[in-house]
Amino acid sequence: MSASQQIESKRATDSTLLLGTLAFIVLAVVGLFIVKWFPYWNKAHVAAVTHAIGSSIVSGKGIAPPAVGLAAAWQYTIAYFNSVWMAVVLALLLGSTVQVFVPRRWLLRMLGARNAKSAAVAGALSLGGMM
């Protein structure tokens, strides 16, 4: 293989890696927009106007939770997953996509160090997650 061919193949590899990473970013941005950012934008307006975003998931309108038992467990499970299922699906998709489609050495450069900077980058990225 000549030097120029080697350079060609190196470039092709890098563009695939870039494409994989881009796919992850697009999935994250589009997914978070649908599941989090857009609904929360609307919810913020509701909160500003009505000073409420629904009743307590623990106890409804009152302060006494339902008696301990299967009925309470079932009702909570439904209410909870009804509220979070889209976020759970997105999180699972993002979790597997980051493992397969994002080059490890790129991720390591950003989040691999055991220092405050790496943690600050991760903390800043987490702001967009709103999970």
Binding site: A72, G95, L107, L127, M131
Partner: protein, 222 residues
Amino acid sequence: MVIGLRRQHASIGSSLAFFLGNPVLNPATLIFMGFILGWQFSAIRLVAGVLLIAAVVAIANRMTPDDVPDHAPAPELAPIEREGRSVGTLFVAWLHELWNEMVAVLPGYAVIVFILGGLRAWLFPPDFTIHAAGLGGMALVSLVGTLFVIPTAGEVPIVQTLLGHGMNVGAAVALIVTLPTISLPSLFIVRKAFPAKVLAMTFGVIFAGGLIAGTIAQLVLR
């Protein structure tokens, strides 16, 4: 997502920052909270959240000095970096990881939510939550807040309802700091991504953070 980051060898500190930052620093929740409970609550939550993450990350990095030596051999490549990859192999690898995550996460997650949901009356007895005050009361509220699981921003209406019935401002702050941050299910989900002692430490720090923030709020607010 945190599991994926850890499998990709993101450091323990950054993964923890991501794990905790997502719920506790959630800008949307801080905004809802400002409009509904008052901006002083959002401010306390923001400051407490940043301090808690910094504390957990600093302790975790100190606790695991040999986890990733500086000159560790290069980590295994991600599927997209491997030779001979194709659209087919990547898709299979992706489905494989997705399936593994679903099996490892979903059943246990649902069961723990089910159990905690069923025990609500014991975890949040109105007579106790409304009157919780002092170090002991605040500690119990923080413990419940650290264990219990709620959807994103669920703490806002929970605390709104309790405050409306006369809950102590300190106990309210303890709940605001601990309820969203971690829970039994969230610890279960990341159980293999972090050493057990790191998760135990995280639990302790969040619990203590609720206790301290609640106590300070009790003294400062009114």
